[in-house]
């Protein structure tokens, strides 16, 4: 089945099998490997991308369902060559270690800040509770998202 999907602002047309998972489409067909796979049961969230601005687990969607939609992956966070505030904040606050969950965490964080420019610690923890991290204990991920929120509001950069 032929589908048209916009990924990070670039339109793509592809012929895919209906059973192809959206995450495999992004990784294999489009070739953007910043979106990862970590489980079989919709539990870990490392495959999260923004679908029309909303974070979703792409291991639990078929590529055909993204027909006509616009996706933002980690590769699309940068704007005009500048890091997104969430990217700068993750580095500044040491919000990552192995980096495997990081793209998803940043996308969820960026969507949260869009909706809630000044999230409390509890709100951040709740918002990222569909995403697992094995390295950081979440402490610095929470800090990074709050720092990004602060820097987005003030227009400052994290560094």
């Amino acid at each position: 089945m032929e589908i048209n999907v916009t990924v990070n602002g670039t339109p793509h047309t592809a012929d895919v099998e209906p059973r192809m998972l959206l995450v495999d489409f992004i990784r294999s067909t489009i070739g953007l490997t910043g979106t990862h796979i970590g489980c079989d049961t919709t539990s870990c969230g490392v495959c999260t991308v923004l679908v029309d601005g909303t974070p979703m687990k792409t291991c639990t969607m078929f590529a055909v369902q993204a027909d006509g939609r616009s996706l933002t992956t980690v590769e699309g966070l940068k704007r005009n060559g500048e890091l997104h505030p969430i990217q700068a904040a993750f580095k500044e606050a040491h919000g990552l270690q192995c980096g495997f969950c990081t793209p998803a965490m940043m996308l969820v964080g960026s969507a949260l800040i869009e909706e809630n420019p000044d999230p409390s610690e509890e709100e951040v923890r709740w918002a990222i509770s569909g995403n697992l991290c094995r390295c950081t204990g979440y402490m610095n991920i929470v800090k990074a998202i709050q720092l990004a929120a602060q820097n987005s509001t003030t227009g400052g950069t994290a560094e």
Partner: protein, 793 residues
């Protein structure tokens, strides 16, 4: 909060030891530029899916691959019989046992590898895997070591000729006679029997491999999720009989390891064999179910510990009997000499003359493993047992658990301290760490609050763990894996312009080696850390080393980095003398430059010296500026700390919540405090996970419960407590920069603190043990079985 201020010796520009340098690897990770195994695509690459046993114990009567082979896109179906033709049906484990690559005679655990399908597409490989039909004759499964030791138990390892029982190993440590004597004169003996349940490191990236054997040159390039690429190259050479120079292991970015990526797994071997035969690259990416149900588990120790106390509450001796559940193959990744890892560190932070540990490993119909899950070879189990025991001992003698520890701690003036099981602790100051933790948490106030709460019928508890770890394996006289001595290495080359490359035998998996190891060079040579590129994980381009696990990178490769930098500093000194026309003895070193004693204006920078090493070196000197060091540590390092957890417990539901978690760590000198704290946060979370929810169990038929993230529970940000960190610094006297390693301290130390807190909330009811994980139902059942009982606490 810290007890001591550590002003770094170097400027922020140089960024040596002590700076919270932001991580250089982050630039790629935050932009989706990480290069993990599954991100690698090779031309003509095939995909492999593994067929696994649904049964825990069964004879294989036949395997029918014909339907699978007929599927469009399937290139080959591999079985154990096929591998046997290449002598690859079995492989050695890291503990010197053997393990089936693909089962030929019988399956020995649910999830065991039985066949593999190689196809042009991963979806097709999975389709065809369903069409491999295996005819099994079920055998009675053994699902715990007690069953395995029963006299009439079926023998699991029928492959081992003459094997008449299910014992994988027996081992002991310490002095049995002296321990008996200590118990004979004890005023009181405190006993704890507890199970440290089976767990799994389950990094978010599963294991995987791309084997690319060139049919013309026979060059095997094996991309692998490996924490120990050099050791794996040697194992591959031994197992597959490939000439070692033709094997190149590349371990790309790793999405977490935690010990899971230390062993060699059947999937790696099958893919390599398939690539060798087919002549095309073969990729295998493990499913999460495969990861949890077949690759290296951790823990699963059934422990009985006894403490002998004198009338004043001083510990006289410790006796431990431990039975480990090894699964179907004895595959602990651990030093050869120690059959139960470094479990004999179980004497802990306390001073007493006698201890004895006996251990029995038992085969069961469960997945093999026994990996060091964020732990230096079974230290986690040991630390848990002793910290639970001392807490219970305090209750039994009516002493505050903190006071009991203070009374029995090894004192600072006793270091180096020889433990009753033979370790020589390098340095420590346990009382200071505990005092700091108590101050941070407000210990006395909490104890008063607890008394009040009990009067009101509320339940709250305060749990302490004052752990001592042993890490940094290890000195070559005692430590090897499969005969390979556990040294590690660093190769440093500074280019003419003063910027260079550091190559290491270890392999980062999130610990930030690219950042921190450059800081060690910066510290030693004064060359800015930003000018040093760190390379790991490619066996063709890095010096030999045993890899990253057991908190060994800083104690071994970190030391090697320091030493190789110092070697080069001595070369620079000779060049400086030449450039300054002074004698070497008259030169003084300060960060980044040499100057003539008494005339500081007469100086050359390290960069000047490096440039001269290529352009203007003294006659008779070798040109260039590079060296290598293979570092054989003189001793292990012994990080320690004190953790205090405060919990509130709902007696109606058994639900407990962490109110405070204080962690005071002493890992010696901190190379990068930001990264150290991040490591501690992660470890405290894994400790919380194990104490509260994360475990793998098996039903009576040997079905694995915990083979996916719906059943194997990993806490999210919502459940995970907030952590408050403190620090003391007691440098390691034998490490070149005084560092000890920290990647695992918090996983090792914290489970006992969480559990002790819950037990403490219930101690007045007489509760002394709940086996982990402390799920609400277990806590509630415990309260119910103790309600009405007179407590002693």
């Amino acid at each position: 909060m810290t007890t001591t201020e550590h002003a770094p010796k170097t400027s922020p520009e140089v960024c040596g030891v002590g700076h919270s340098r932001r991580r250089v690897e982050d630039d790629r990770f935050i932009q989706g530029g990480g290069n993990y195994l599954d991100d690698i695509e090779l031309s003509g690459m095939l995909h492999m899916a593994i067929v696994r046993s649904p049964l825990a114990h069964a004879e294989i009567l036949s395997i029918d691959t014909s339907q699978a082979e007929a599927v469009d896109g399937v290139v080959a179906v591999v079985t154990g019989d096929l591998l046997a033709q290449y002598d690859l049906a079995w492989m050695p484990t890291l503990s010197g046992d053997t393990q089936a690559v693909l089962a030929t005679d019988k399956v020995r655990f649910q999830g065991q590898e039985v066949a593999a399908v190689i196809a042009t597409d991963p979806y097709v490989a999975r389709d065809a895997a369903e069409l491999v039909f295996v005819d099994y004759e079920p055998l009675p499964p053994i699902v715990n070591p007690q069953q395995g030791l029963a006299p009439d138990a079926p023998i699991i390892r029928t492959d081992k000729e003459g094997k008449t029982d299910n014992i994988a190993y027996t081992w002991e440590s310490g002095d049995a006679q002296a321990t008996e004597a200590a118990f004979a004169r004890a005023a009181r003996v405190v006993t704890l029997e507890t199970h440290y349940p089976r767990s799994h490191p389950s990094p978010l990236e599963t294991c995987g491999v791309i084997a690319d054997v060139d049919p013309i040159t026979s060059q095997a390039t094996i991309y692998m999720t490996s924490q120990a690429p050099h050791a794996h190259r040697t194992v591959f050479a031994l197992v597959a009989g490939l000439p070692e120079q033709n094997i190149r292991i590349i371990s790309p970015d790793i999405g977490g390891g935690f010990g899971n990526k230390v062993p060699v797994y059947p999937g790696y071997v099958i893919a390599t064999a398939a690539s060798l035969v087919i002549g095309k690259p073969v990729k295998w990416i493990e499913t999460r179910t495969g990861n949890l149900s077949s690759t290296g588990f951790a823990r699963d120790y059934h422990m009985k510990g006894e403490l002998a106390l004198d009338a004043d509450g001083r510990i006289l001796g410790l006796r431990v009997d431990m039975t480990s559940d090894q699964g179907a193959f004895y595959a602990d990744a651990q030093p050869t000499k120690f059959r139960a890892g470094l479990f004999h560190i179980v004497t802990g932070s306390y001073d007493y003359p006698a201890a004895h540990v006996s251990a029995t490993g038992v085969y069961t119909n469960k997945a093999p493993g026994g990996v060091s899950y964020r732990c230096s070879f079974r230290v986690t189990e040991a630390s848990y047992l002793i910290e639970r025991l001392v807490q219970n001992a305090a209750y039994e003698i009516g002493m505050d658990p903190a006071e009991f520890r203070m009374l029995n701690f090894i004192r600072p003036d006793q270091f180096p301290y020889r433990s009753p099981t033979g370790f020589v602790y390098d340095s420590g100051d346990y009382e200071t760490a505990l005092r700091l933790a108590m101050d941070m948490v407000g210990y006395e106030d909490l104890r008063r609050e607890q008394e009040e709460a009990r009067r009101e019928g509320r339940l709250m508890g305060i749990g302490i763990a004052s752990f001592t770890e042993v890490v940094g394996a290890g000195p070559s006289k005692d430590y090897d894996i499969l005969g390979l001595k556990m040294f590690d290495s660093a190769e440093l080359r500074i280019h003419p312009t003063g910027k260079g490359i550091l190559k290491l035998g270890v392999k980062t998996q999130g610990q930030g080696h690219e950042t921190t190891f450059a800081q060690i060079v910066a510290e030693e040579l004064g060359i800015p850390a930003a000018d040093i590129k760190v390379v790991e994980g490619d066996t063709d381009n890095t010096p030999y080393g045993l890899g990253t696990y057991g908190s060994r990178s800083t104690p071994t490769a970190g030391a090697a980095t320091s030493v190789v930098s110092r070697k080069l500093r001595e070369k620079a000194r000779k060049i400086a003398a030449h450039l300054l026309e002074a004698s070497e003895e008259d030169l003084e070193w300060e960060v980044g430059k040499f100057f003539v004693r008494g005339s500081p204006e007469s100086s050359v920078t390290i960069q000047d010296c490096v440039f001269a090493a290529y352009t203007n070196f003294p006659e008779g000197m070798e040109g260039g500026f590079e060296d290598v060091d293979y570092y054989d540590p003189p001793n292990m390092t012994f990080p320690f700390g004190s953790y205090i957890v405060v919990v509130d417990l709902d007696p109606d539901t058994g639900v407990w919540k962490v109110r405070r978690m204080i962690a005071v760590d002493d890992c010696g000198v901190r190379i990068n405090p930001m990264i150290v704290e991040g490591q501690i946060h992660g470890g405290l979370t894994e400790g919380f996970a194990m104490s509260s929810m994360q475990w793998i169990t098996y039903d009576e038929d040997g079905n694995c419960i915990g083979s996916n993230f719906m059943d194997y529970l990993i806490p999210t940000a919502w459940e995970t407590p907030r952590f408050e960190l403190g620090e003391t610094v007691t440098p390691s006297p034998h490490h070149p920069i005084g560092a000890k390693g920290v990647g695992e301290s918090a996983t090792v130390g914290s489970p006992a603190a969480y559990v002790n807190a819950v037990i403490d909330a219930l101690a007045h009811l007489g509760v002394r043990n709940i086996d982990m994980p402390l799920l609400p139902d277990r806590v509630w059942e415990t309260i119910r079985s103790h309600s009405g009982a007179e407590g002693e606490g």
